[in-house]
Amino acid sequence: MNRKWRSIIAVLLALTLLVAFVPGCAKDEPADEPTTDETVTEEPKTDIKAAMVTDVGGLGDKSFNDLAYAGLQKAEQELGVEIQVLESKEITDYESNIDQLATAGYNPIFAVGFLMTDTVVKLASVYPDTNFGGVDEEFYDGIPGNVVSLLFNEHEGSYLAGVVAGLATKESFDSKLNSDNVIGFVGGMDVPLIKKFEAGFIAGAKSVNPDVKVISLYTGNFTDQAKGKELGYSLIEQKADVIFAAAGACGTGTLVACQEKGALFIGVDADQYITIPGSGDVMLTSMMKRVDAAVFGAIKSMVDGSFKGGTAQYFGLAEDGVGLAPYHDFETKVPQSIKDAVDKARQDIITGTIKVPETP
């Protein structure tokens, strides 16, 4: 009815579409399937509906939540279960999300992240017929009968990362390595879980290089990439040339710091060479935590009726629950002596010759 008004609406729409495309690009893109591409055979359909609730990191974190979702997707393809994921924006969402999934008949329900421990305990008693999987959740007051606690021996995998870093800092196979014998660790929240990464990393490094100096810094959360970058800068200024980050999405910032200031990076949770494109120039390896395998395994146990509620399952080196990713672009550069040392350490941990500490 009047042109001016219409043109304003048009501009507004254009603006908002522009705004919409930014999150649109990051729209919960299904996490890259890190598992092997097995041929999908027609499995008999089950009537199991599996679901997960992310922590506030949400999908697209390139590590923890994406990995759990990959486990669900694998179960959808291979076991024919129906899957659903609810993302949490705030802590208040945990309870309502799990509650809605349980009401809608999803079983099992995976709560991803230790921050949901209390909520799982509370709702496990409200919905006694629903099974829950608590990823990284340690239940100090006993595991409810319908909950399986999925835990990882992060210290074992981090020990191997420490062996790589401790030896690499003495080498000169890449121009970013210096002769100062300093390596760095960036942690997320200062909690026992992350301390396990730190402890393993330090122990591994010292085992092959007793004089190495390991500097550890914490971002205080798992989301602030700027903080991760800042700590990366700080470590590199203090002469660190290999940095291991166990800090969720903060690690992406540390990675950028490594690329800008020249240091090698060790990723966490997923094989971050694959999940973070363009990281190959500094990504030495990643300490993988196979959340996907744990989640898939728990769903499989539901399908074949062997779900063991009330227990904790530990995923360590022996179970392939943690481990190092390939060296990718560094495959030919990394000397055989490092690869041999890693293999030896892995064997020694599995056989029990080496006991890796859980606290630094």
Partner: protein, 375 residues
């Protein structure tokens, strides 16, 4: 002629009210419309999505309770920001004051034992408000004495407050266990859920009282809104606040101390944010931890904007944001729309309220057209 002259003032008054209420409503409707287009363009069904959103936020007593739960802190932070705005101050640091209020409650609520509930709860509420006010006091003094801009100082104080809490929950105040958080408040320091106040029989007879997670904090928040409205409208304190916000030079000339009013305004604003922290700790989490607030202090700015800084308008504005948050889960579950769409709609509401001039211009244009038709 004489008839139209008599009706004109009433008509005018009605128009201003309609305009005040109309522009935010128009903005919300427009935001929903644009949000629908975005959803449709991304391959989702907007009708199903909004149906699910509504079901998840108002579909039953439990859902309404969830909406109220999420609106409660937003009413209080919205009030906090609005009160500051009315004195011409932009308290961008409500988040930090909220953390301080929550911290004091989480600490005192556990440390003081043995007091009856009726003493304990008011005591904690007052302590949290004092803590919030104290956290706004330094920025207030800096603003009043040397003119340091409150946007910078209150924001910096937010960082300080947040990091103090971060440190305390991993250090001195940490409860046993893996999670960095304080000990749980005893029952005597909690704000109970509304449905627990009624007997099983009453709840059966009146099922709308089964409000799920909604707690008494909503009552506290509504009372606070009424009190702030009363203060602004009927007291000298409120008059001075508005006068300074309207025109500080004229107020100074008229005998109002701008400095003193600034200090009072920011401290009251801080107290309201501190109260928000208190109800979250006492009603929802029963303890404090690093991420106990998902930016309620910042969402409060949007709530105040949408409410046009009217203390009673803050209530529906906060309920809107609470409903968007409460319905997001159902929207993901039933319409398979990612939760991020909700963030887009929230952003659109804020954007459109900020760009309200356009809507106002449109309305004026319509009025002119209408008048010209009459003429």
């Amino acid at each position: 002629m004489s008839e139209s002259r008599e009706t004109l003032p009433a008509h005018r008054a009605w128009m201003t009210v309609a305009q005040k209420v109309g522009t935010p409503i128009a903005s919300v409707i427009l935001a929903i419309g644009i949000g629908s287009v975005i959803m449709w363009a991304s391959g989702y069904d907007p009708v199903a999505a909004f149906a699910a959103l509504f079901k998840g936020s108002f579909g039953g007593p439990k859902q309404i309770g969830d909406t109220l739960l999420r609106s409660t802190p937003l009413i209080l932070t919205g009030l906090s920001v609005a009160y500051g705005f009315r004195a011409g101050l932009f308290n961008i640091g409500a988040e930090g004051q909220l953390f301080m209020g929550g911290l004091v409650v989480a600490w005192l609520g556990v440390a003081l034992t043995g007091l009856p509930w009726v003493v304990m709860v008011p005591l904690l509420v007052v302590a949290a408000m004092l803590a919030g006010a104290a956290w706004a006091f330094v920025p207030a003094i800096l603003k009043a004495r040397i003119g340091a801009h409150e946007v910078i100082t209150t924001m910096m104080f937010t960082y300080i407050g947040r990091y103090i809490v971060s440190w305390l929950v991993v250090g001195p105040l940490k409860a046993p266990g893996q999670i960095p958080q304080t000990d749980a408040l005893p029952i005597g320091s909690q704000l109970p859920r509304i449905q627990t106040l009624f007997s099983e029989a009453t709840l059966e007879a009146l099922p709308f009282l089964k409000l799920g997670r909604a707690h008494l904090g909503i009552v506290v928040a509504v009372i606070a809104a009424l009190v702030v409205w009363f203060i602004l409208k009927y007291t000298t304190l409120g008059y001075e606040n508005r006068a300074v916000g309207f025109n500080p030079w004229a107020s100074e000339t008229g005998g109002i101390s701008v400095q003193w009013t600034t200090v009072k305004a920011l401290c009251i604003s801080g107290a309201l944010a501190g109260l928000a922290g208190a109800v979250e700790v006492m009603g929802v989490h029963h303890r404090i931890f690093d991420q106990f607030s998902s930016g309620f202090g910042f969402t409060g700015i949007a709530v105040a904007l949408l409410a046009k800084n009217h203390p009673l308008g803050v209530i529906p504005a906060a309920i809107l944001f609470g409903a968007l948050s409460a319905g997001a889960g159902t929207m993901q579950l039933e319409a398979h729309v990612p939760q991020k769409i909700i963030l887009i709609i929230q952003a659109l509401v804020i954007f459109l309220v900020a760009a309200e001039e356009i809507v106002t211009w449109f309305i004026k244009r319509r009025q002119k057209e209408a008048l010209s038709h009459v003429g």
